[in-house]
Symmetry: C2
């Protein structure tokens, strides 16, 4: 763009603005076409909801597998394909292939992009070599590779349009998250909370790959992209050095706050949303203070990156309750008023409802009854601890001191929910949430920082809540009241993303490999099918030639499946997950497949 | 057994005989129970036919995927699972996992055997790291590992009962074939024809793993296990040194004749059958003579190993027309007489029918009209060249001399058919044959032998016959007349094994990944489904809880798919296969899945 302007001046500027508007408008228009699935999250609001209703509550029991496709890659397959027109765009874990299939040609492979990446990035990926998907915008497919290369591919040919380098794997910075396109920019976060990375979200120009802005989660104000006077937290300006004040010395420079969750955008408020992750290290003794703005919900202006508001959910984290989970933007009626809300199911086990315009806290309740590290959030605006969770001392991993094992903390570090995204049905007004029902022992220890080396500082083991056997529940949640509507137990964590549809069906996958369909009102199971491998992908739906399809990746892995994915057997390996999920070996093997379902043709 | 006899004399001998009878009788009984699929080949006669008819010509179009299972291993998946009672036994390519699934528990993994093998065996496997399956007998599952370890596993627990070492991978000897159990012995062949291995079939005691006999394909009479006076070829005794006389010097010691095809057994004649492979090297100039008994059909006594008869199909091979393809034992009416026949579709493009008792040659006709290296087999018993194919000089790779490229030879080295097994329906009396429709250029060159190094001696490239596009046909064959009944073109070689059923349906898979069902009378397509990856496995069927299922492995690879499987791109790589099959990249990716089909439950 800039080069054009040098030659053509004002005229080119007008054209550039027009193009920007076009790229944004195109996506908003496309996400309203329920035949497509244009955004990794279904829409900018992260609903994972479809208006398609050909497959419905009454006929979903007749669902069949229409076709299947192997990605050719094993290990954890998070995310979902995009569907745009006649094309399906698949992605894989490392080596992060992108595969374009033509639905008009029975799924023929039109192009396949397989980047050459240094395999040394693999051991720097904390919890499997996952990738959560590609984004579309302006005729390009955007992929954030494991090695942090952000690449723009021509959607028609797969040719590389541009590449940008978002981080340094040698420092433990890796790419796992799906980008998001807004206007003329593509946004992407970064992973590396277990390697002492100072994390950020970065905006790149969709046409050139040039970096436009970068907002850090922790650090000085100019790195945070905050305005001390205008950026607010719970309605009040955050003030100068809001982050630096809450860290000891230079610890913030290796302070984490990673940004590998799903991004959201509200075109009316013109704000983008995401959560920042755990402060590092996992040993809380080594980082006194609130460690702002780790564990925080962020609302930023997409053009400038400047934050409008922030809200820290878990000040001074002691459990790795990484706040990266997605923000779902829904307009709900609360106490009789229409509120533009943001609903968020945090790793810490609390389901939050906020006013997404102002950042006002409306609801913060446990969405798993097992949660025991807190008695709840102080909801009194007049209180000094307003908005803070009250920590149960017996479950404080810092209270016991270093090298002391605190037991039976619920949830475990992977949270009552992790990256597995929830769905929201505007038809029922209910949120459908895949959850973990897992507790842990946690023993913090002193750790020293070396760039690119694990900087964890705690030993964990995970298991189901005492006296229970199921390690997961699929739940329905009323975000206006903060109440569980129904809860369907699952043997293992539900690590798959949910899909709600206008056909009155909600879908999700299980770690054993089942795709399940349930009644949105009751949670009653309407259909199940055993796919080739455990499901940690997100269910999506599309229409092609007048027929509705439901599709999901199989491919066991992710944090919950890391034992299988990486061949680990020590129960405490995989940051404590291997032991808890050891039983998975009886149900599934590594895979990497897309299974596509449809009703029989009669 | 032998050790027992030393101590207990006659009593133990009686017990041993009783046990032998039991193990053999059990299998014969089990293979008649169409609910099971107890032998890798369907039955001892290699029919790949099932009496099950719940899925039939009229309803096969309604077939659905019942469930799916990922093996967790990529690369070529040849062979098929066994089904015994409530158990399904799966196998994989290297590292040769065996996975036992309980159908009564929705396919739960009961046990999994994953041997630790030296990965140095991988480059010694000429044409992908395939394994063609396990055998059952006497409560044990027998696996021939890539590293030639023959292992007996307890079918209930997966525990190792015994192990035997069948060869030396350091010399290029590898295990790819399925064993066969007869009486108290388990038989297994060996691979390594491209590494100058002197190949053999070996019998091991099923109870102890002790070697009982070993019969070589080439070499002195005592190694061949032949009786110069009693072992016949085309009705005449083979005489003394029948093999040695046909080799120059010690070339036989690195003379090939490998034995990695499917084994067969006739309990009434008490004879086992198999084919021996190409003489090595592929450069015919380096091994003057007929190179007996490479390229030969063998009929051996299973107790002693002594051959009753042999028939060499391609004396002095010049094209790698490896004679390992399976022998199908059928009782056919020929010229009005009931004949115990053996039907064999050789790599050389000729379909043979022999009297399996006497080895008399009845039919030898081209089963692909493209075959051009021979004008046919001399069928005149009085002729000096009786039983020999007449070689077309223009297609002789030796006639041109070393370092000369002979072009447009049909079939290519991988034959008009390779390991992909045909099916025989006793209901129609017809054979259903997956074929390659591929030609080649072949340039022999001088090569010197180093143990464990490739000893190939020819450069190849493969392509469809001139002026044609399809590289495969699925055909129906009348073995009494040597005639094609119908031929269904496929874009690529049909590298999957066929299944015929009493439901008047024939199944096979394609390299693009489709499972197809056709009408046995016409070849008309009745059903197709796109499985996750290209199919080189063999279709099998079983019944569980009164319901018929059809199952097949996906997992592109094998010789035809080696380009994809091993990531090769040079067109002449993969012994010439990569170029011919380059188009596969548009259809499929690596995989490793079992897809199980059934009719809808109504």
């Amino acid at each position: 763009m800039r080069r054009l302007m040098l030659f053509a001046g004002g005229l080119a500027l007008t054209a550039a603005l027009a193009m920007s508007a076009q790229a944004s408008d195109e996506l908003l228009k496309m996400e309203k076409n329920s035949a497509d699935w244009v955004s990794p999250t279904g829409n900018y609001a992260n609903w994972r909801y479809s208006e398609l209703d050909q497959i419905n509550k009454d006929n979903v029991g007749d669902l069949q597998v229409a076709w299947t496709f192997s990605t050719g890659v094993l290990r954890g397959h998070e995310g979902n394909p995009l569907k745009i027109g006649n094309m399906l765009y698949l992605h894989t874990p490392f080596p992060n292939k992108v595969i374009a299939l033509d639905l008009d040609q029975d799924g023929k492979i039109v192009w396949q992009y397989e980047p050459k990446q240094d395999p040394d990035v693999i051991p720097v990926m904390c919890c499997d070599t996952v990738n959560r998907g590609v984004a579309y915008g302006d005729g390009k497919i955007f992929l954030h590779q494991a090695d942090t290369t952000l690449v723009a591919l021509d959607a028609k040919t797969g040719e590389v349009v541009w590449k940008a380098v978002n981080g340094e794997p040698k420092k433990g910075e890796t790419g796992t998250s799906a980008p998001m396109v807004v206007k003329d920019k593509v946004f992407v976060g970064i992973s590396g909370g277990e390697f002492g990375v100072q994390c950020h979200v970065t905006a790149y120009d969709i046409n050139t790959g040039k970096r436009v802005w970068r907002g850090y989660s922790v650090g000085p104000d100019d790195q945070l992209l905050v305005d001390p006077e205008k950026t607010t937290s719970l309605g009040k300006p955050i003030g100068k050095d809001s982050s630096l004040k809450t860290w000891e010395g230079d610890q913030w420079k290796i302070g984490g706050g990673c940004t590998w969750g799903w991004l959201a955008y509200d075109p009316d408020l013109d704000l983008m949303y995401y959560g920042s992750g755990n402060p590092s290290t996992w040993n809380p003794k080594q980082r006194p203070g609130d460690n702002k703005w780790s564990m925080t919900i962020w609302a930023r202006n997409p053009d400038t990156g400047v934050a409008k508001w922030v809200y820290q959910m878990t000040p001074h984290d002691e459990w790795d309750y990484d706040g990266i989970n997605e923000m779902i933007l829904a307009d709900l009626k609360i106490d009789g008023k229409d509120v533009p809300t943001l609903v968020h199911f945090d790793r810490n086990g609390l389901g939050y409802t906020l006013n997404r315009d102002t950042g006002a806290l409306l609801v913060a309740n446990k969405y798993d009854p097992a949660v025991n590290w807190t008695t709840g959030v102080d909801m009194d605006p007049k209180s000094k601890t307003y908005g803070r969770p009250a920590v149960v001392t017996a479950k404080s991993t810092e209270a016991g001191g270093e090298d002391t094992n605190t037991t039976d903390i619920c949830p475990a570090a992977l949270g009552s929910k992790d990256q597995q995204p929830a769905a929201y049905s505007p038809k029922t007004g209910i949120f459908y949430v895949p959850t973990n029902h897992v507790c842990m022992d946690y023993e913090p220890f002193r750790v020293s920082y070396t760039a690119g080396q694990p900087y964890v500082g705690a030993t964990l083991s995970m298991y189901p809540p005492k006296g229970e056997e199921n390690m997961g529940n699929f739940i329905a949640w009323d975000a206006t009241k903060g109440e569980i509507v129904w809860s369907k137990p699952e043997q293992f964590s539900v690590w798959s993303g949910a899909l709600a549809t206008a056909g009155d069906v909600v879908f999700y996958g299980t770690l054993e490999g089942y795709l399940k369909a349930v009644d949105p009102e009751t949670g009653d199971e309407l259909y199940k099918f055993k796919t080739p491998s455990g499901i940690i992908g997100n269910v999506m739906t599309y229409e092609h030639n007048g027929k509705q399809y439901v599709a999901v990746y199989s491919g066991i892995g992710g944090w919950a499946g890391i034992g299988l994915a990486a061949g680990l057997t020590d129960p405490q390996a995989g940051l404590g997950a291997v032991g808890g999920y050891a039983g998975l070996r009886q149900y599934t093997n590594l895979g990497g497949q897309l299974t596509v379902f449809a009703l029989p043709s009669n």
